[in-house]
């Protein structure tokens, strides 16, 4: 007989780091001890998205959503909730506005506006059990493609649905498939791009960890449609949990005959291999990815020829992003009309974003295209931490740009973000508040691209380095008016002349912050001041004589001996010796130290 209660425990990387695996063990042990193990079942699932408050435990059927559950809480959950139907109030999520507990996730602002398509099974099924995937219509789409639709109609369905690539540029998926299908060859390949490199983005990892079969099924459909019998998943070696779950899933699919020869009696043979990447950002670019899989350096090459003509081992190759693939089976099962009505005119469906930075609810969210940034940041994200003021949001990672207050009401889709000077990218979303210095933020992203540039073409290799040096100069208060002009010009040249998408977009953070926060750049250059108080070289710590009582607390705490002064006398900070660590300011009880 089926279990009457399911305890879903998040087994994503984030929650596992907070001991969710031990929690699963403890819950199982408690159920056994209290003789409830035939009544309730513990299921380890994929990511719920609410990583801020992990580990998450969701109890079905009453839908109770427990947050920050530690292994020690297993006893009380079983003896109170499972045995007696009493919710454990102190483990419930508290509404940040009035601190009242919210029992069910559907009443939380974080979940209210989400529509989960790509993440449909994450947090619901056990990713290591193919039967739970099959129970939720898994592999049905593949069977339909074989028996009812056929390859051409399937591509037409994706075209009608309006599915576009979720990895960055938003190229129509069906057209990519069609191009590969048309190219004749003795062998073709389909590749899943799981080389997720944006700082802070983890949607692809979460899909692979939480619902690996969705990607496997979509790749088999992809292979059948374009005429490829081999699939490859290019995944970062730094995603051990995703790799482990993929391996389990691949073996299960093979055992069930859903991969291998003559799948579902269709006569179609297909199998998938894993290829590990070393974690280079540039390998997310499809030509670089293909070279890396071939065993060469991960460097991009000029297109054309496109991978659809000549890709992996010079054979036609179709590369798709994880999130794009995860959408495919649902579209086939539910039909293009269903998918079509979600989203905006040109961008259909949903997009997963990794919401990070200075917002209250950090996590993974899936929202319909067309939602506004304001809704995402202030409703789902719960507003800015510590009631600070919103300053900017960076979308699209190091290739995107920053958007400000005036852009908060634009509806999110591919075109609107580009028009506003940013891009969708893979879905990183980093929120910044008044304490963030935009020059410093631009420098951070440039530092990332300089590190990740493959070095093949001069504009990207040399140009980005020069941009970084200029920004560094400005943050040290040594920038000149001419430097600002050079930044602007050089940025444009790098964009125009770089070989691949990395260089073509790497100046975006600089250019967009210069456009939106011109005054901040001027403050650094002309006034030698950092308005947000981030750039250390531009700060001076001073003692307010009126407030100083001469307690010598700061003298004792200063690690470099930069403060002088005797007891009951006003102290003095030597600007030359000061390293701006801020220790004195933290220690002073009389507010006698200020930063300028």
């Amino acid at each position: 007989m089926a279990y009457k209660m399911h305890l879903l425990v998040c087994g994503g990387t984030g929650c596992q780091a907070s001991e969710s695996a031990a929690l699963v063990e403890n819950l199982k042990k408690e159920l056994e001890e209290q003789q409830l193990d035939s009544f309730a079942q513990v299921v380890m699932t994929g990511c719920f998205g609410f990583c801020e408050k992990g580990p998450i435990v969701k109890i079905i059927p009453d839908n109770t959503f427990y947050t920050q559950v530690s292994p020690e809480n297993a006893g009380v959950i079983v003896s109170e909730h499972v045995a007696k139907g009493r919710r454990v109030d102190y483990l419930l999520y508290k509404n940040p506005e009035d601190n009242t507990p919210i029992a069910e996730s559907k009443n939380m602002n974080f979940y209210k506006k989400q529509i989960r398509i790509a993440l449909r099974n994450c947090g619901i099924i056990n990713p290591e059990n193919i039967e739970e995937y099959i129970a939720r219509d898994g592999y049905l789409a593949l069977g339909k493609v074989f028996q009812e639709l056929g390859a051409e109609n399937t591509i037409q369905v994706l075209k009608d649905a309006g599915l576009r690539g979720r990895g960055g540029a938003g190229f129509p998926t069906a057209i990519k498939w069609e191009l590969t299908r048309k190219n004749e060859a003795d062998q073709k390949y389909v590749v899943c791009n799981a080389d997720e490199g944006d700082p802070g983005a983890f949607m692809d990892r979460s899909i692979l960890e939480g619902d690996p079969h969705a990607v496997i099924e979509a790749m088999a459909i992809n292979g059948y449609c374009v005429g490829a019998t081999k699939g490859l998943i290019y995944i970062r070696a730094e995603y051990p949990l995703a790799i482990q779950r993929l391996k389990i899933a691949l073996n299960q699919a093979r055992n069930y005959g859903l991969l291998g020869n003559d799948i579902l009696g269709s006569g179609f043979d297909f199998d998938i291999e894993l290829r590990y990447g070393a974690g280079a950002f540039v390998c997310g670019e499809e030509t670089a990815l293909i070279h890396s899989m071939e065993g060469f350096r991960g460097e991009p090459t000029l297109k054309p020829p496109y991978p659809a003509q000549s890709g992996y081992l010079n054979k036609p190759t179709n590369v798709n992003n994880v999130e794009t693939l995860a959408n495919v089976p649902v579209i086939i099962n539910k039909g293009p009309e269903w998918f079509n009505q979600i989203g905006t005119e040109k961008s259909k469906g949903t997009k997963v974003f990794a919401l990070a930075g200075k917002v209250n609810n950090v996590g993974l969210i899936e929202v319909p295209m067309g939602i506004t940034l304001r809704e995402v940041i202030f409703e789902i994200g719960g507003g800015i931490k510590n009631n600070k003021k919103f300053k900017a949001v960076q979308t699209g990672g190091p290739s995107g740009g920053c958007l400000t207050e005036k852009d908060l009401d634009i509806s999110i889709d591919y075109e609107n973000l580009i028009a506003a000077g940013s891009m969708m990218g893979s879905g990183g979303m980093i929120v910044m508040d008044e304490d963030d210095c935009m020059v410093d933020v631009a420098k951070y992203f440039l530092d990332f691209t300089v590190e990740e540039s493959c070095g093949k073409c001069a504009p990207c290799r040399i140009g980005n380095k020069r941009l970084y040096e200029l920004l560094d100069k400005i943050t040290k208060g040594k920038g000149t008016k001419q430097d600002l002009e050079i930044l602007q010009n050089l940025g444009g040249v790098i964009k125009d002349t770089s070989l691949c998408g990395l260089g073509q977009s790497s100046p975006n953070p600089v250019l967009s912050t210069m456009r939106n926060f011109e005054d901040e750049y001027h403050a650094h250059v002309h006034d030698h001041k950092c308005p947000s108080g981030v750039c250390k070289s531009l700060m001076t710590y001073e003692i307010i004589p009126d407030n100083c009582v001469g307690c010598t607390a700061c003298v004792r705490v200063c690690p470099v001996g930069a403060i002088t002064g005797n007891k009951k006398e006003v102290h003095l900070i030597s600007a030359e010796l000061c390293i701006k660590c801020g220790a004195c300011m933290e220690r002073c009880k009389f507010d006698a130290i200020t930063v300028n």
Binding site: A2, P61, N63, G143, Q147, N255
Partner: protein, 130 residues
């Protein structure tokens, strides 16, 4: 290991497996189906409420009634345990007392299926706040 031979095979397999996980889908929209809450405090358990709950879950599934059975804490009618609250869509919730398995069977057959009232209704003497 079962090898799935074709689409029909897969569908059959899905239909068999669905009962193991569909509780997770049903719990998303309980208002569309019959909701039964079984009180499960110490006194209720002592009076056999767990048997009542198991009976409801198993029988409703066997009789193909879309329902969701949850447990709840003490309802306060300790003299009439086990107590259950039954909510049929678009109707007011009704509380039944002394629900052993024969009574549960009667509730399913008469009230849930037929809409007939059965003995054992406890008049509600409190208000619920959400």
């Amino acid at each position: 290991m079962t090898r799935v031979k074709n689409l029909d095979d897969l569908r059959k397999m899905r239909d068999q497996l669905q009962s193991k996980t569909n509780l997770r889908d049903k719990s998303e929209k309980p208002e569309d189906m019959v909701q039964i809450k079984v009180a499960m405090a110490t006194c209720c358990i002592a009076s056999g409420s767990r048997d009542t709950m198991n009976f409801f879950v198993d029988e409703l599934e066997k009789r193909n009634i879309e329902a969701i059975v949850t447990q709840t804490g003490c309802m306060g009618y300790c003299y009439a345990e086990p107590t259950v609250e039954v909510t049929v869509p678009e109707k007011e919730p009704i509380i039944f007392g002394n629900v052993d398995t024969p009574k549960a069977d009667e509730i399913i057959e008469k009230y849930i299926k037929g809409g007939e009232m059965v003995d054992g209704i406890i008049p509600v003497n409190y208000q619920k706040i959400d």
